[in-house]
């Protein structure tokens, strides 16, 4: 053990004696490891918000849309669709809506032409909407029983609509739907799972039927299922809604797309991490190069050490350890720089930084931790150490092969 400690001491004194050169050859591992860490960390951080959203939103929202057979205009569900769905085992809550077509929504008369070209969707909403979407109101109130029962001309609007129409909370404002004034009673928070709602105007079903003669039937229903039974519920929905009727129902799970987007993008990770590995290899060549020159410059020192009784293997280990020390400290520096890049770049981009990224290579997802350290750092250090060992092999063998008689110039 003491011999190993002696070796480490000699290797480190060899490195600290030439600080600037040591720092220069450390740049290779520093750049390589930091590139790897930053590449994987940033691609993950770019999606960190998505993953956080998924965790908040849940993956148990199912959408079912009415779909007619070929040629059917405006297919709809039966009127009691919500009761049928709620009767299904595994369904926690449901809200049905009807999208109203052929109407123009505008903040005031003069804007009607513009909003004909860029329509704002109008939908009906029932009392379960906020619960199923798992959102809150930004301001105001939701549609109440009076609205539902009397067909009052009131609307709750999405945040994007509120911003576009410059609606201020607490002010009395109306919007015009087909020229009819609707009072805005509330604004709801963004619906991240179904982003269409963010630009929508929601009105009571009875009002819609009164004003636009669209009937009370709905055409889309959103269902929250028991998270462990999502697939089962999704399969049962069409039958439950139609009771074996001829009409069709299309179902989907909106979070699927989000999940796919949030999954680790292994292609990008591989591309950027490959650049890091390339930097490591180039850095390794640099280490080998500089150390080979160093062996020549220090041939007298090697001869002295041999004369003092250090064997060839000791000399080889000394130079190999110098290379490994460069890889080790360069690797540590690379980890630090990589983490700084991830944190700082995420800060600039407004992402939530991820310092324990998931690493996927060729479809294989690495375990998130190795000996309590996030895998990416273990891999980064491992790559730096491996490179330095390979880079140090040639110079150390060369050093060990030097003949002391030739380097000491006796007589």
């Amino acid at each position: 053990m003491r011999s190993i400690r002696d070796l480490i001491g000699v290797a480190l004194s060899g490195l600290t004696a030439r600080v600037s050169r040591t720092l220069l050859i450390m740049l290779g591992p520093i750049i390589g490891v930091s590139a790897i860490v930053a590449a994987v960390g940033l691609t993950e951080s770019a999606k960190g918000d998505l993953q956080q959203d998924l965790a908040e939103l849940g993956t148990n929202l199912i959408t079912a849309e009415a779909a007619g057979s070929f040629g059917t205009q405006n297919p709809t569900f039966p009127e009691d669709v919500r009761d049928r769905v709620l009767a299904l085992s595994g369904v926690e809550s449901a809200t049905a809506t009807q999208s109203i077509t052929g109407v123009v929504t505008a903040p005031y008369d003069a804007a009607a032409t513009y909003y004909t070209a860029f329509p704002t969707p109008v939908l009906t909403a029932d009392s379960a909407f906020l619960e199923v979407m798992q959102i809150e109101l930004r301001s105001g109130r939701w549609l109440n029983d009076f609205d539902y029962n009397t067909g009052a001309r009131v609307a709750v609007i999405g945040l994007d609509v509120a911003n576009e129409f410059e609606y201020r909370a607490g002010t009395n404002r109306t919007i015009q739907i087909n020229g009819l004034d609707y009072g805005i009673v509330g604004v709801y928070e963004p619906v991240k799972l179904v982003t269409n709602f963010n630009t929508a105007v929601l009105i009571p079903p009875l009002t819609a039927d009164n004003d636009f003669d669209v009937g009370l039937e709905t055409n889309t229903i959103y269902v929250r299922a028991d998270p462990t039974r999502v697939v089962e519920v999704e399969e049962a929905l069409p039958v439950a809604i139609n009771l074996g009727g001829s009409d069709e129902v299309n179902t989907s799970v909106p979070s699927d797309a989000l999940e796919a987007a949030a999954a680790a993008d292994s292609t990008l990770q591989i591309i950027v991490a490959s650049m890091g590995i390339l930097a490591l290899v180039v850095g390794g060549v640099g280490i080998a190069n500089v150390m080979s020159i160093s062996v020549i410059q220090r041939s007298a020192e090697i001869g002295i050490r041999r004369a003092l009784g250090h064997g060839r293997s000791v000399i080889a280990w000394q130079f190999l350890l110098e290379a490994v020390a460069v890889g080790f400290f360069g690797g540590l520096g690379g980890l630090a720089v990589g983490v700084l890049i991830v944190v700082y770049a995420s800060h600039i981009a407004g992402w939530t930084y991820v310092l324990e990224p998931v690493l996927v290579v060729g479809g294989y997802e690495f375990p998130s931790e190795f000996l309590g350290v996030p895998t990416i750092y273990v891999l980064g250090m491992g790559a730096a150490l491996f490179t330095s060992v390979v880079a140090g092999l040639y110079p150390s063998v060369k050093a060990a092969r030097l003949e002391p008689l030739e380097t000491l110039r006796l007589g």
Binding site: R2, S3, E301, G303, R306, A307, L308, G309, G311, L410
Partner: protein
């Protein structure tokens, strides 16, 4: 055949080159006993440098046999030969050959590496050796901060710190002025003891005159091996502790 000699050469030849063979040493037989003070003299090309490489275990005979403390060196691997070299021989070079990035104490300590010593013990022995050559106060100086004479004294401290049975010096005064040369030769006289043989390779007659025995070489052979009666007998040796 092994015997009690410190070093023993029997019919040793050292031949360089494959196509054109150069006999740097030609069937040399001799021995150095414990506690001897030997000089090896001869003109350039006489084979004394080759002799130095062999005596210092840095080289191996091409032909013949060589024993060091009773062991035949041809049968030793590099690791054992290196260990034997570290135990038996202390080198002193004409160009001092200190490691430039280490201070005096660390240069001396280099000889004590890989010997299973604690850093404290290594430092203690190094300081004691520097004290013997009178350089303990300059232990933290690097070679560039010292004169040639001082560097050679540090090199001597490095050579004696392992308590070798043989001090092997290669033109130890060759790079020094006469004052420093005399100083270094006095240190050799002081270090000579029954437990510590000294062999100096030199072409300087005054250095050779300090020895008790003079081996003269020419063309790869020993041409004379004589005891010098008028050499000052050394009665005390430097101690490390």
């Amino acid at each position: 055949m092994a015997d009690a000699s410190l070093l023993r050469l029997e019919e040793v030849s050292r031949i360089y080159g494959d196509e054109v063979k150069v006999h740097a040493l030609d069937r040399v037989s001799m021995s150095i006993e414990a506690g001897e003070f030997v000089s090896i003299v001869g003109p350039s090309g006489s084979g004394k440098s080759t002799m130095l490489g062999l005596l210092g275990l840095l080289d191996l005979p091409t032909l013949g046999t060589m024993w060091v403390t009773g062991k035949s060196v041809k049968e030793l691997g590099d690791t054992e030969r290196s260990r034997l070299r570290g135990e038996v021989v202390g080198f002193i070079f004409q160009q001092f050959h200190l490691i430039p990035h280490l201070d005096a104490r660390r240069n001396v300590e280099t000889a004590l590496l890989y010997r299973n010593l604690t850093p404290a013990e290594r430092r203690r022995r190094a300081m004691a050796a520097l004290d013997v050559v009178g350089l303990a106060p300059r232990a933290d100086h690097r070679p560039v901060q010292m004169s040639g004479g001082e560097q050679q004294r540090v090199a001597i401290a490095r050579a004696i710190v392992t308590e070798p049975k043989l001090l092997l010096a290669d033109e130890p005064t060759g790079a020094l002025d006469s004052t420093n040369a005399a100083n270094v030769m006095q240190i050799f006289q002081d270090l000579h003891s029954p437990l510590r043989a000294i062999a100096i390779v030199t072409h300087d007659p005054s250095v050779a005159a300090a020895a008790q025995r003079r081996i003269s070489m020419k063309d790869g052979r020993i041409v004379a091996d004589e005891q010098l009666v008028d050499a000052a007998p050394t009665t005390f040796g430097g101690t490390l502790d």
